[in-house]
């Protein structure tokens, strides 16, 4: 790891100022993506700004029909939260299956979505539940947040503050995990929300996307029959040593059906 200057600000304003003032500053959240990257010397930030000293960024609350998760909330807290388990069990389930126990103790929702790994789990929930991402500057609709491979709508000096998930009528998440890394090869969130049916896919493309044909089919008829024979094409899907585009396309259908069964 190359050396850097370390900061632990106690307020969001101070963090934003440090980030803007640094030559090449990086936010440090749970460190479970950033530190392995630095260990491999794949990046050389001048400054690391650790958000763990900012109390308001951590925690889960319920407000206005939504569950609000602070950016610095670790996956394990989301998985164990009585509020999340009661209001959006699919989200608790998703969080409970990220990586392993120790990854869940440190990795955070803010870090996960800011990183926008094409194979991360949370993007399926942010897009699939129609969440709103609150930053230190504005609010971004979940569907507009992910822009491509490791690319988000965040500006250079913008910080994720929280993610607000409207409580759906029903929702289910299913993933086909890579047996070594536990990241989804394909993960699908299926939800019946106030704004309509949403089906979001992660792991298969450059970033999470909606499967509109499945949404239309389920809007017309919320049942397993509606998507029994529906298939997604392989065009534009990821292809790597773990799975071909054709295999991922097949998994989208299978995971959507499992997610629907979980949603009930």
């Amino acid at each position: 790891m190359y050396d850097f200057t370390y900061h632990r600000p106690s307020s969001l304003e101070e963090a934003a100022k440090l980030l803007a003032g640094a030559e090449d500053g990086k936010i440090l959240a749970g460190g479970h993506t950033l530190l392995p990257t630095l260990k491999q010397r794949l990046a050389q930030p001048s400054d690391l700004i650790d958000l763990s000293g900012i109390k308001e960024l951590k925690g889960i609350s319920e407000a206005g029909g939504a569950v609000v998760v602070g950016a610095m909330t670790p996956h394990g807290d989301v998985a164990d939260s009585s509020v999340v388990k009661a209001r959006i069990p699919a989200l608790a389930h998703l969080a409970s299956d990220i990586g392993d126990a120790q990854v869940r103790h440190r990795g955070t929702i803010g870090g996960s979505i800011a990183n926008a790994d094409p194979a991360a789990d949370y993007p399926a929930a942010v897009v699939g539940l129609g969440a709103t991402v609150k930053t230190n500057k504005r609010e971004i609709a979940g569907g507009d947040f992910f822009k491509g491979l490791f690319e988000t709508a965040l500006d250079e000096n913008e910080l994720v503050v929280s993610v607000s998930f409207p409580v759906p009528e029903k929702a289910g998440y299913a993933k086909f995990a890579n047996p070594a890394s536990r990241y989804p090869i394909v993960g699908v969130m299926v939800a019946k929300t106030a704004g309509g049916v949403r089906v979001a896919v992660t792991g298969a493309g450059a970033s999470a996307f909606r499967w509109t044909e499945a949404e239309q089919a389920l809007s017309a008829n919320w049942s397993a029959d509606a998507i029994k024979n529906l298939t997604h094409g392989p065009d534009g899907l990821n292809s790597d040593i773990h799975a071909s585009a054709e295999y991922r396309a097949h998994l989208i259908g299978v995971m959507a059906r499992r997610a629907l069964a979980a949603a009930g």
């Binding site: 370390y6 460190g31 530190l35 650790d50 126990a101 120790q102 536990r182």
Partner: protein, 155 residues
């Protein structure tokens, strides 16, 4: 350089370190607590698991600076008054190790599991150990040891 202070196995320590110092380096190289191992470069193997403020974490994926002010327990801190912790005793009794490289992390992770779930099923134990890789035992005796420890700790 920056100064980090923490309580490690009940002792208050304070050292000057480079900001890039990992917690595992701090423990092994600055405090000579070499019971905590490093088995990979990818945060996957769990040989480095320690407890920070009572929760199991991978000390290879945390800066020493991030543990400033925290309470840390390593494998060296488990035995009390020369008496093995029930988890250590169970690993010994049930042959839960061969080369022993993964063992400190396994034991620390398993102790944390029992805090969350004092009566885990075999399946729950195996799921919890997803972040702890053993290249020798085939896991059977590790699971057996954790079951035995759970039983003895429930009393």
């Amino acid at each position: 350089m920056l100064t980090v202070s923490m309580t490690v196995n009940g002792k208050q320590v304070s050292k000057e370190v480079e900001p890039r110092t990992l917690l595992v380096q701090f423990l092994r190289e600055h405090l000579s607590l070499t019971g905590t191992h490093v088995g990979c470069d990818t945060s996957q193997c769990g040989a480095c698991v320690v407890h920070v403020d009572g929760t199991s974490v991978k000390s290879c994926t945390m800066l020493a600076a991030q543990a400033d002010g925290a309470t840390v327990t390593t494998i060296e801190g488990l035995a009390q008054d020369g008496e093995l912790h029930p988890m250590q005793a169970a690993f010994k009794e049930h042959h839960g190790l061969q080369c022993g490289f993964c063992t400190p992390g396994m034991v620390m992770s398993a102790v944390d599991l029992l805090k969350h779930n004092p009566d885990p099923s075999d399946r729950e134990i195996r799921e919890w150990l997803q972040g702890n890789i053993c290249r020798c035992t085939g896991y059977h005796n590790i699971v057996k040891a954790i079951q035995a420890a759970a039983q003895s700790m429930r009393g």
